[in-house]
């Protein structure tokens, strides 16, 4: 493995994917470095969620390469990618509504050795202390913010090296988004790289090291968070406006 590969958690080249006859992603290139926070922006329908599904193995890759920690993972099944260290927080949280917070967290520990489960749960509860008070509570009765914490915590139970989060702030009040962003920054500082899909530009770029903007299944802009924010074409592509 080269030095460059070792410093990259994720390296995607020319990724093509879609559903049935419909091709959604037309050759996407993207990288995430070790312990890096990368934001993926784009309007609804840009292909962000499809990209996250392709990364996590929920849909097949038709062409291109997905290298994780220096190893090609494009052809392997979703559950094996989790075991290798890629975890997804799906859009809409998709928690197990009839189960408690503790049970939801345990459900995320499927690939973790039994001896490490308690320690990993403690780590998560230290990042999301609000969940500790709710451990015995059925998740359907939690607030939206607590549900998102639980969804992130459930995915973190596999102790991933890369966490993919699809629509972090969807339906959440701004103060809850701030709380989640702070918690994610602590998770990143602990060594977990983040790739976060987000519609709220300010929230997405607050802690991100770098950002990509996707439009119609292609990356149309990339750079540091500051560069992306400042780029005039960003508004055009992100807001879906045509240049005059």
């Amino acid at each position: 493995m080269s030095e460059r590969e070792a410093s990259l958690t994720l390296e995607v080249r020319g990724l093509v994917a879609g559903y049935g006859d419909l091709e959604i992603l037309h050759g996407v290139d993207l990288t995430v470095g070790d312990g890096e926070w990368v934001a993926l922006l784009g309007v609804a329908g840009a292909g962000k969620s499809t990209f996250m599904k392709a990364l996590s193995g929920l849909i097949e890759t038709r062409a291109g390469s997905i290298r994780f920690a220096g190893t090609e993972i494009a052809g392997i099944e979703a559950h094996r990618r989790v075991a290798r260290g890629v975890a997804l927080v799906p859009e809409g949280r998709r928690l197990f509504a009839g189960m408690t917070v503790a049970e939801n967290l345990l459900a995320g520990a499927h690939t973790l050795e039994a001896s490490k489960i308690a320690m990993q749960r403690e780590r998560i509860l230290s990042v999301f202390p609000a969940l500790r008070e709710r451990l015995g509570q059925v998740v359907g009765t939690l607030s939206g913010g607590e549900q998102q914490m639980c969804a992130i915590g459930r995915s973190l139970m596999s102790s991933p090296r890369l966490l993919l989060i699809d629509e972090l702030s969807l339906g959440l009040a701004p103060f809850l988004v701030d709380e989640l962003l702070d918690a994610l920054e602590r998770i990143r500082c602990d060594g977990t790289a983040l790739l976060v899909v987000e519609q709220d530009v300010d929230a997405a770029l607050r802690y991100a090291n770098r950002a990509y903007v996707m439009q119609l299944g292609r990356i149309v802009l990339t750079g540091s968070a500051a560069e992306v924010r400042a780029d005039a074409s960003f508004a055009i592509s992100y807001m879906g406006l045509s240049p005059t």
């Binding site: 599904k53 996590s56 559950h79 989790v82 998709r94 459900a107 499927h110």
Partner: protein, 292 residues
């Protein structure tokens, strides 16, 4: 629960042959329903043709006893083994299907295995297979099978409890919430489904094996009978899907209603089952929901 089990174990000493026989039927169908609940209720895969394992268990037990002259216990073990092997063999193919497509796939498997058994000389073909008589008085024989069915039901419920409370149970719940969610949490969904179906097959096959020896004569239309699957489904739905104790209560209600009808209105039992199906679907689509 233990008190109920102890009382039921002692029941043959206090009740007559008819009651023992009726309760044995209840235990048998309850076992099949609890086993069905594993794959259909907890797993979310409506295995309408699950009766195939009842037939496989019955015929495996019969063939081992009649053709190879081996004891009943080995026949039962063979019934369980062949049922599990069948689920493991056809699982990867059938679990490519979902919902009613999967249901139809399992019906196809039942039809294919029934046809195979009908045409194989080893299984006695269409003429059926006569098993050795157990011997002893009718009451002693009925008591033996009563205890065997009761023990099998207890074993099935305990195994189902351990399965749904263990790692496989969490995988099942994830599976029911959506295969994509389960996969994104690291669940090997195909392996989980096959494991569930194999467990379901094992206990259904066990019930089939006991049935074969208790009846001493089996034929394909009897043991691959879809009416048995339908009854198990009604019991599972009435008891509440993905519940452990619900199917037990529902089995008593359904089998009790059928037995009473057979006693007082001979030949109307199928009609009563039909009315129960309609009543369950219309008035209790979520069952009686004994959440245990």
């Amino acid at each position: 629960m233990l008190l109920v089990l102890a009382a039921l174990a002692l029941a043959p000493r206090a009740v007559g042959l008819f009651a023992i026989s009726s309760l044995s039927d209840v235990f048998m169908i309850a076992t099949i329903a609890v086993a069905l609940n594993l794959i259909a209720g907890y797993g979310g895969y409506p295995a309408f043709g699950n009766v195939v394992f009842f037939g496989i268990g019955a015929y495996s037990t019969g063939v081992v006893m009649v053709r190879f002259g081996l004891p009943f216990a080995l026949g039962l073990a063979a019934g369980v083994a062949v049922s599990v092997a069948t689920a493991a063999l056809f699982g990867p193919l059938l679990f490519r299907l979902r919902g009613h497509y999967f249901a139809i796939g399992t019906l196809g498997l039942n039809g294919a295995v029934a046809q195979l058994v009908t045409n194989l000389p080893l299984s006695g073909g269409g003429k059926g297979l006569s098993l050795p008589l157990i011997g002893g008085s009718p009451f002693a024989a009925a008591s033996f099978f009563y205890e065997l069915y009761l023990g099998t039901l207890a074993l099935t419920v305990i195994a189902a409890y351990l399965i749904v409370r263990g790692p496989l149970g969490y995988a099942c719940r994830a599976l029911r919430s959506g295969e994509d969610v389960a996969q994104s949490l690291g669940v090997d969904t195909l392996r989980t489904k096959i494991a569930l179906w194999a467990a379901s097959a094992a206990f259904t096959g066990l019930a089939g094996g006991i049935y074969a020896y208790s009846l001493t004569y089996i034929e394909p239309p009897d043991v691959f009978n879809l009416a048995l699957s339908v009854k198990a489904f009604v019991i599972m739905l009435l008891g509440g899907t993905a519940t452990l104790l619900g199917p037990l209560v529902a089995a008593v209600l359904v089998e009790g209603a059928v037995a009473v009808t057979q006693h007082f209105l001979l030949n109307y039992d199928v009609g009563v089952l039909g009315l129960i199906i309609i009543a369950v679907i219309v008035f209790a689509p979520n069952g009686i929901r004994l959440r245990k």
